[in-house]
Symmetry: C2
Subunit: 325 residues, 2 copies
């Protein structure tokens, strides 16, 4: 459960008031924040405490993450000259703390796998072009339509950064990776296929040799699930808008689905949570399904509800021989 | 094209700095703002200049619309007692200016039809419960899950208000109505069907006797299109995320589709706009399709692009005998 920490008192106590980028750059703190939800909930995997803008910030693009506002870019990406501000990422020099965090976490986790983490090119590009969070991604799309070559070059550079960033996490011990394309759902399937898929494929297909499971995550991506699977994903994230049995048809054979409980359901009375979680499990069909929320944990979530939810999923019988943990 | 005015210099000149609620309450100004896009673009219909919170503000719930922020509710809806703050709307007393505006507009429009306008219960409820715009609608969903009876009562009251509000617009001369459920796309199909559809059906099916076309609009509603059609809609709005030929299958027979050019495409070079618009027209299939943007016009849109777009749609040949204007 991504962003599970936000709902935990021990997270708020350890995290302190600084930027998430500062916290991610302190291996002992980042490791502690990664481990807290595993300790509290007994989930089946940890996800690295990080942020999608860590690589671009690390090469000096001028990005900070303001609490409650998300990434803020001092001088947004405006044209071809700005490509120079995105030099290749050298993980051991630019983000040595990430491998260090991964090693600390893996050392603590034992059998529990750690999922590595990177932002997908379109979502990172949206922050760079808009200068921050955006409802309609108008500037990003305008660039995509007006100068498809420059847009492709931007996404290609960001793909290279994500690729080496994830590879460094795998080399340090991550057992799986998740590529976050939070804003891909803002695109039509045609635009996604033409302008975004090549860059995301470069990352996911580019990690095939590592043998680790590759999770491709988005929100509002009901119409893109098949394309996202085709990018070289082993697992495709599905938010709560598409029932999981329907999603499986769109994802296609041989690719697992991840999801898809509405995070807002965790604010509901327990009986409602339990019924909805059971429905997700039934539609997931037991095999080829990673139970999860369809998006990050809402900060106001009661940790006890999440603990009960994890127990419910663990205690629900699966078809014999098909349970994968 | 909804919110087409925002991109027009004559709109900004006439509109002035006040709240949209103040502008909507001045019939001559609201009529002028309704007519401007028709004059400038020669579109095939006008849409009433109004706001989804006009009825709840008119019965004194305490709502204003802050420029750039959307509706702001002074004391949000928190429990059963707040239902009393939503007394029935009496259009001729509470919003006499709306019928007056409709009459002024219809008198000027001649052959061109005017589309009436109301916010759908879920979207209006979200503003009342959250106190303003929300990314995740967490409070609204929490109420929906925790107290389904109160939630249903709230939506039912809002449905009654929208119903008499739209009926008043039809009686004053509106030739069609559009029900805006901007946030319905935040819901899973199951939640939508159970908690929202009954209220929206009360409005749309409740207007069947008027004989005017009823348009049911949402964004990100790809999984809800069939349900939204079943609410008593003659036309279902489709954003750009679902190709229109695919959307038609989901909407089902006998119901038209409206859309679905991405508004951000209007920021693109003209050849890109033209190609995308042509694709929408082809997928729309000529009959049973109202060409439109998938969402409101972006404020930074060049009016000349919209003018060329309208001309392109008008000049594109349709299957013989099937063109409906």
């Amino acid at each position: 459960m991504r962003q599970a920490g936000r709902s935990l008192p021990e997270y708020r106590a350890a995290r302190g008031p600084g930027s998430i980028l500062e916290a991610a750059a302190r291996p002992e703190l980042a490791a502690e924040l990664t481990l807290q939800p595993v300790r509290r909930y007994g989930v089946d995997a940890a996800i690295l405490f990080s942020d999608i803008v860590v690589p671009v910030a690390a090469v000096g693009f001028g990005v900070d993450v303001a609490p409650g506002r998300g990434p803020v870019v001092v001088a947004p990406f405006r044209g071809r000259d700005d490509l120079r501000r995105l030099r290749p990422l050298v993980p051991e020099e630019d983000v040595p703390y990430v491998a260090e965090t991964v090693k600390l976490v893996v050392g603590e986790l034992g059998e529990v796998p750690l999922i590595g983490f990177a932002g997908a090119p379109f979502t990172v590009a949206s922050y760079l072009v808009e200068g921050g969070a955006s409802r309609d991604h108008a500037r990003t799309k305008a660039l995509m339509y007006a100068d498809p070559e420059l847009f492709a070059a931007l996404l290609d550079v960001l793909a290279d950064m994500a690729l080496v960033f994830l590879r460094a996490q795998i080399e340090a011990g991550a057992s799986a990776v998740q590529l976050f394309d939070s804003w891909a759902g803002a695109l039509s399937p045609g635009d996604y296929a033409r302008a975004v898929l090549p860059a995301s494929t470069k990352i996911l297909a580019g990690l095939a040799d590592t043998g680790v499971p590759r999770i491709h995550f988005g929100v509002g991506t009901g119409e893109l699930l098949g394309l996202m699977a085709g990018a070289g994903a082993d697992v495709v994230g599905v938010d709560w808008r598409v029932p999981l049995d329907e999603a499986r048809g769109r994802v296609g054979p041989g690719v697992a689905v991840q999801g898809n409980l509405d995070p807002a359901l965790c604010l509901a009375p327990w009986e409602v949570v339990a019924e909805a979680a059971h429905d997700v499990l039934v539609r997931g069909g037991g095999a080829g399904h990673v139970f999860n929320l369809g998006h990050g944990v809402l900060p106001e979530t009661d940790p006890d509800v999440l603990a009960r939810l994890v127990a419910l999923v663990h205690d629900t019988p699966m078809p014999p021989g098909e349970r994968t943990r």
